[in-house]
Symmetry: none
Subunit: 144 residues, 2 copies
Amino acid sequence: MTKPKLGIQLKAKGYKLTQQRQQIMNFLQDSSLRLSAQDIHQQLKQQNSAISLDTVYRNLRLLTEIGIVGQISLPSGSVYERVEDQEHHHHLVCVDCEKVVCIAYCPEMKTYMAQAGAAGFDVIGHSFEIYGRCASCRHKYLHS
Amino acid sequence: MTKPKLGIQLKAKGYKLTQQRQQIMNFLQDSSLRLSAQDIHQQLKQQNSAISLDTVYRNLRLLTEIGIVGQISLPSGSVYERVEDQEHHHHLVCVDCEKVVCIAYCPEMKTYMAQAGAAGFDVIGHSFEIYGRCASCRHKYLHS
DNA sequence: ATCAGTGCAAACCATTTGCACGCGA
DNA sequence: TCGCGTGCAAATGGTTTGCACTGAT
């Protein structure tokens, strides 16, 4: 709504706004969920807008590189979410059920960024994920 | 720093202590780095202790399930580290030359871990990488 | 002696890529 | 029109699995 239109952001980087890219972003826009490439492909198919799986992958990759979406790696593959700079956050990832929970952004992260700057690094992005077992999986785990 | 012996931990869960498992753990023990299955396989091969890649995968999986090692998913695959390893550090990764620079462990990271605990999460491991361009690559980049 | 663990090769599955055609600017 | 973007199919690469053999207890 108040953030720059997708088309603008793409054009600024020299990319075209295609139907497929629009559809993918609409999808990530609507849902606050994190979706895999396959999820997106499936669901678009059910909306009668069949776009190829390759294209979904290609565009998720592009959108990730541009910084419009964020990629989260899981043992079974990656999931994606829309990035909003204002609401930057990180994740807890359950190694059993792969549930992903957001944790609040913590200003102390800046300590790391400062070190990066001191090392002469131009920071482009960063990833931070905590892996573990969620409460319910831990319960199952202890009883097996 | 005497933690339970590997053999004991395995036996407690009904698993055997095999040469291969011992070798893999020795490896993770020694190195403070996080290694991929392939890394471990390669390096063991160079030590004249050739164990099959499948076995490395199978055992890393087992050790992860038992909670002896932590698995970290990255887009290019998984890396593993010893769980008790509190003294690990994080990295700056140059997106151009792929140079990796270590940065010191920062106690503020505990703030995140605390949040994980509050969410009922059993922390097994975490991943934190800063992506950017190193000083020399930035120079080249600006002149291309 | 038994059965979990191993090696090998083949299978799997998410993701990437080469190529020819189609569509956005 | 021009060249990026797409679809298709085939390739890739990390990881898993079926099977027969080996080794730890």
